[in-house]
């Protein structure tokens, strides 16, 4: 019962954030204007045009990105048995970023779907490498591995960028942001994200079992390797799609699942919903703040909020690693 209410509450929160994000920015609009544009359609005046053509895709992109990053972080934390896992920490974002830049170089007229595929493969390779080399080792090993591989991959990306004069491209991916995403691109991403999230939702019981730890998994007879692979592929897919639309976002995938788990416990049936809604709403609001602060990169804002929180998590929950 309590869980149902929480979902409702988060839906309302996400709805309010959506309207706020639609209303405020470089130019502000009233609620009425937003509702008119979205629901009544008709012929669009100038303000309506801006709302529909520029701001709506941006807000939706922000919501989707926040949702995908947060769920991806949640799954990675569960499956790697590590409270500090998150796509950017594990180097998945760096891998996706590198693959996208490399693919753009090889084929300059790449379709958006092909770019997504490249990002996914890049992220997947890094994720597999990291899990493989750190499988039987301590959680701090996992995190150092991620940090080191990220540094390496960003350097390789820099190398490609400098030797091929792609400065603009780099600036976009390092600072990121939801601006400039088209509704067509969202039309590619949204269905894939929906399918992936449904798969994860169906597997929520198996994910719950991961929380018991490896020995318990073995004795319960779960085919853990298989579920680990399936869920991680899903998580990497979500993370790499978010890299393709908003660049590298740090900490969000860590912060949101932790807040959710503090409030609502650990059952994935619910946490997947909560993290998705909450992460999406949070990213919309951060993007709104970014727009109001002279178009500051939104990732910078999230990093600024996330850093103290991350340190807090390390000092409280991460103590067993230290």
């Amino acid at each position: 019962m309590k869980d149902g209410w929480l979902v409702l509450l988060l839906c309302i929160f996400a709805g309010v954030s959506f309207f706020a994000a639609m209303m405020f920015g470089v130019e502000n609009y009233s609620v009425g204007k937003v509702v008119d544009t979205l629901f009544w359609g008709g012929e669009l005046d100038r303000a309506g045009g801006i709302l529909y053509e520029i701001r709506l895709p941006r807000v939706v992109a922000a919501f989707l990105a926040g949702l995908m990053i947060s769920i991806s972080g949640l799954i990675m934390q569960t499956v790697t048995h590590n409270n500090l896992s998150e796509p950017s920490i594990l180097g998945v974002n760096a891998g996706a970023n590198f693959a996208i830049v490399a693919a753009t170089l090889v084929l300059p007229v790449l379709s958006f779907a092909a770019m997504l595929t490249a990002g996914f493969l890049g992220g997947l390779v890094v994720g597999v490498i990291i899990l493989f080399v750190t499988r039987f080792r301590s959680p701090i090993h996992l995190i150092l591995a991620g940090a080191g591989i990220s540094l390496f991959l960003y350097a390789v990306t820099d190398f490609l960028v400098i030797t091929n004069n792609l400065g603009q491209y780099l600036a976009f991916f390092t600072s990121g942001g939801a601006a400039g995403v088209s509704l067509g691109q969202l039309g590619v991403i949204a269905p894939v994200a929906a399918v992936v999230i449904v798969i994860l939702y169906v597997l929520s019981k198996e994910l719950d079992v991961f929380l018991f730890g490896e020995e318990m998994l073995a004795s319960l007879g779960q085919n853990q390797r298989m579920y680990q692979v399936i869920t991680l592929v899903c998580a990497v897919l979500l993370a790499s799609m978010s890299v393709a639309i908003v660049g590298n976002v740090v900490f969000l995938g860590l912060l949101v699942p932790h807040i959710v788990k503090m409030i609502a416990g650990y059952m994935h049936r619910w946490t997947i919903l909560y993290t998705g809604l909450f992460g999406g709403a949070l990213f919309m609001l951060s993007d709104m703040a970014a727009r109001m602060l002279n178009e500051t990169p939104v990732n910078a804002i999230i990093a600024m909020i996330g850093l103290p929180f991350f340190i807090y998590i390390i000092r409280t929950r991460g103590r067993k690693y230290a």
Partner: protein
Amino acid sequence: MRNPLKLVIIAALLLVTVVLTLVTGTFSLSPGDLLDLIMGRAGADVNLVFYEFRMPRVIITILCGAALALSGLILQVISRNPLADPGIIGVNAGSGFGVVLFLMFVSGGGSNNLYALPVMSFIAGLITVLLVFVLSFVRGSFNSNMFILIGIAVAMGVTGFLYVFTSTFDDRQMTMLNQYLAGNIWGDTWAFVVVILPYILVVSVFAWMKINEMAMLNLEDDTLRGLGMNVNVEKVLLIICAAMLSSVAVSVAGAISFIGLIAPHIARLLFKVEMKFVFIGTLGIGALLLSVSDLIGKLLLAPLIIPAGIVVALIGGPYFIYLLMTARKV
């Protein structure tokens, strides 16, 4: 092979690299020019290139490479973790933030007040490490794993919000920041040498005086306390050394990672447990790595110059992955 001989080989390799760096480049010097230089009858242009452009750059490269390597060695000894590196735990990000602040508030074009830039990036880098350090005390005693975790967090977070002011930057400022973050050695004039040489020398000598403590720190804290060492104080002093070394190196040489990780590791492979040789070997290998990287960056795609930091990472990344696969315990 005897240990002193290995050191001689490292020195010889370093010498070869230095000579190659001095004579190659867009304006390459012939053996005849070199002879002229030694005899003191070279033309003004040769003199200018040799003494004003290349010589200070080589010296800066060697100093910064050695400083980064020593900083990495200290961090690895203290954290008992072979994967620690000043770049991974936030020095580079902090210094980068100093550069952003400089571009934002001191000199918009990045052309005047040029000496304020290294000072600001140095201070920002130092503050970052010290902050990480202060945050990694658990119940009154310094916890090295906490230090690494928080360092990584701060590195990521600060790298993220580095870009907070960049929406107001023009192309030139953005290029400058990117060059810095890619590890482009730019503080290559005699003025920097004069400031940095004594500074690094003093800190290194201080670290050298702590060499017995460094050799013992691979024992458990409790054992060390039993032997009468004030573990916390020693760690604090050494960490401050590491922070001072790496932040000054990064402030003139740009954000360079992996040297602090690889150099101590190679030194340990070569010299095993003899801390004195490991120490000197680390300095030499660090200097060698950075100067070789600078040379490769200059020659590989000439006339395009690839920042040394990128070359270092291209060499160091695979080595790091190899380390990850083989390191048994972290």
